[in-house]
Symmetry: C2
Subunit: 197 residues, 2 copies
């Protein structure tokens, strides 16, 4: 009886321990330093154990990427339930994305294959990423009810500005203070949202 319960729980603990360790190493030493053996050492198992939970390093990274998009989705969902005004919604969603990239840069990196991280699973096949796309597109649509194609264009533009600024801010953070980049980001996203009217 107990074993039936304890075994699966341990499995889940080990699994999340692997994910947690991978992210922790990436945060401290960068994704190029994340190795299966190092993860195994940290969770006090031998390397092959990791393969009992993830078929390869690639699917491990894919899981972290999906976690990231799911987290983003939840935050966007929260914003939408919090505000009624579509303009406010899109702006707040933009700010959430900035905050996410700021607080968990290593996850943001693996989501977009930045800074040496490489997850070979195509990002557009990720269900969790598509869910994020849908929720933002829906927000834009509730704002400007146009044809699907137009919405996709606007979404692509919004995504580009947001992602472009976040990426450059990360890349230049030692030259241009992050807070200064954030100020420009806020202004740009506000203007983008305003210009949608």
């Amino acid at each position: 009886m107990e074993t039936i319960e304890r075994k699966p729980r341990n499995r889940e603990q080990i699994r999340s321990g692997i994910l947690k360790t991978a992210k922790s190493i990436a945060r401290q030493e960068g994704w190029q330093a994340v190795s299966i053996r190092k993860i195994a050492d940290a969770i006090e198992y031998s390397a092959p154990i990791v393969y009992e939970y993830f078929d390869s390093k690639d699917v491990l990274l894919d899981e972290i990427r999906s976690e990231g998009f799911r987290h983003l989705y939840q935050e966007y969902d929260r914003i939408i339930n919090l505000y009624r005004d579509p303009e406010k919604r899109l702006y707040e969603i933009s700010l959430v994305q900035w905050e996410f990239a700021r607080q968990q840069p290593e996850i943001y990196q693996v989501m977009y294959n930045l800074g040496g991280a490489l997850c070979t699973m195509p990002i557009y096949e990720s269900e969790s990423m598509q869910a994020v796309s849908r929720i933002v597109c829906k927000t834009i649509f509730s704002f400007i009810p146009k044809a699907e194609d137009s919405i996709k264009r606007l979404y692509f533009q919004w995504w580009s500005i947001s992602h472009g600024m976040i990426m450059l801010a990360m890349l230049l953070k030692d030259e241009q203070p992050f807070d200064q980049s954030e100020q420009i980001y806020r202004e740009s996203m506000r203007r983008f949202v305003r210009d949608l009217r």
Copy 2:
């Protein structure tokens, strides 16, 4: 007499052969597949020879990055000498950047540590990258003569939109046709330039 001339020329040939091979492998198999041994095999030498030309894989990548920025600089310079109108200049510069990323994606990747490429030399310490920044800033200034801080803000915005769209277009190229992304890019850059007035 001959040796004094032939030796340096051969040296230069080998050196550029290494660079060419690295880019070629990256283009065909991605940066994660670029290894010193594979490069050495291709140029028909043993691996340690590569270290006679580059202190490490990292400085090899740094050289390719610098080559990329120098190429971009030359193109920007050409545009500036070709057109007088600052508006036209900035727009054409934007198009050159798109074309560069389209034709040599593997170089664009190493310039920004995209898609698994990792050059640990900080990008903002690259002289060739700073030269590119200066020439674009100058173009914006000839357009809107404002304080240096304002110019840097505008440059950051221009760079973000351009780079963000290029990056996303590359990432989504199998879902959203590149030509379609290019259309949105042209429209966005045109609008950015127009809004500068």
